[in-house]
């Protein structure tokens, strides 16, 4: 998750010692274990914050999750806001809940997100001039490839036999003929 600059939790201090030898290696292992335990506690924290809200109104929660599943979490970019336990994702889920409770439409929620974070947050980007290549590129490639293949095959059917190398079986026949 954390490459340069985009860090939502304090980083562990850099380790000057070379990896895994003797005592230092052991310390490192223990420290890693602790990090894992602490991280999983953090994850539980994220669930715990959401849980009371989730229980309050299952229908609203389901609708919130459906919307959140199509929104990218900018902290952990390959997760949706529904999946992510990043602080920001928890906050944004709460934001969506508040908006839905106020009776706002799915469209208004999506606009709220794109106004702040851009189209990049949408896992289903809008069709517009700058995204035509994204939307139609694969289709164009497929149709182009098929057309090319059909043209090539038709050209080949019109070619005379002597343009092709004989198959092995044909070769035998040919030998017999000559």
């Amino acid at each position: 998750m954390a490459t340069h600059g985009v860090i939502h939790r304090p980083k562990p201090s850099p380790q000057p010692s070379p990896r895994g030898r003797g005592r230092e290696g052991l310390d490192r292992g223990v420290r890693r274990l602790w990090t894992a335990v602490l991280l999983s506690l953090l994850a539980f924290g994220a669930f715990a914050k959401d849980a009371p809200n989730a229980a309050a109104d299952p229908a609203l929660e389901a609708r919130m999750m459906r919307i959140a599943q199509e929104l990218r979490c900018l902290v952990c970019q390959n997760q949706t806001i529904a999946d992510s336990h990043a602080d920001l994702a928890v906050d944004l889920r709460e934001e969506v809940r508040v908006m839905l409770r106020k009776g706002e439409s799915d469209e208004q929620v999506r606009k709220y997100m794109t106004d702040r974070y851009g189209d990049f947050v949408l896992y289903r980007p809008p069709v517009k001039a700058t995204t035509w290549l994204l939307w139609f590129g694969p289709g164009v490639l497929l149709v182009g490839g098929l057309l090319g293949l059909i043209l090539l095959l038709r050209k080949r059917t019109r070619m005379s036999d002597d343009r092709f190398e004989p198959d092995e079986a044909d070769g035998v026949e040919e030998e017999v003929r000559t």
Binding site: T3, H4, G5, V6, I7, H8, R9, P10, K11, L74, V75, Q77, D87, L88, D91, L92, E95, T114, D115, R116, Y117, G118, D119, F120
Partner: protein, 178 residues
């Protein structure tokens, strides 16, 4: 050019193109998402000062000045990295710097400034991160340049570097103050 040599040149060309795009892709930083807020009015806010819970700073208080909004938090490791440079930069008095203390505790934030120095003309206290969300903040530290009309003109995600200050920030400030 005859057909035979085309058969080699076309795949080679396609390969070269792929290599070019992959090479370019390596240099792009997927965490730098272009902000949709650039060229738009800064979201309005009214927050208390970090050092004084009774004093409020509003967006409109800054109208008429070119200013910097730097989002930071005491829990943010990358902010520590950026901090000495920001302190140094603040001494040039090139621009007023307002800190947005994001999802922090008042005492932690103030303690951090005491220990590492305070480059800010004022810090405002965004405890629940709502103003951060309005500014589309997802990776602290972030820095915004806001012009005299209150329009966001530049955003930098991640720690400022001498390079960013020289090549992007200073030219922008000169342009806006001209």
């Amino acid at each position: 050019m005859n057909m035979k040599s085309l058969r080699f040149i076309i795949p080679l060309g396609v390969f070269a193109l792929l290599v070019f795009f992959l090479w370019r892709g390596l240099r792009l930083d997927p965490h730098e998402v272009p902000s949709p807020l650039i060229g738009k009015p800064a979201p309005s806010f009214a927050l208390t000062r970090l050092d004084d819970a009774n004093a409020t700073l509003r967006r409109d208080d800054m109208l008429g000045k070119v200013w910097l909004l730097n989002v930071w938090a005491s829990w943010c490791g990358a902010c520590r990295e950026e901090h000495p440079l920001l302190v140094e930069f603040s001494k040039t008095k090139a621009v007023p710097i307002i800190g947005l203390n994001y999802k922090d505790q008042r005492s932690d934030g103030l303690g951090w400034l005491n220990r590492f120095g305070n480059p800010y003309d004022a810090s405002i206290f965004d405890q629940n991160g709502r103003v951060g969300i309005d500014f589309g903040v997802y990776g602290v530290p972030e820095t915004f340049v806001i012009d005299k009309q209150g329009i966001i003109r530049m955003k930098h995600i991640g720690p400022l570097t001498p390079d960013v200050i020289d090549k992007r920030l200073m030219p922008m400030l000169r342009k806006l103050n001209a």
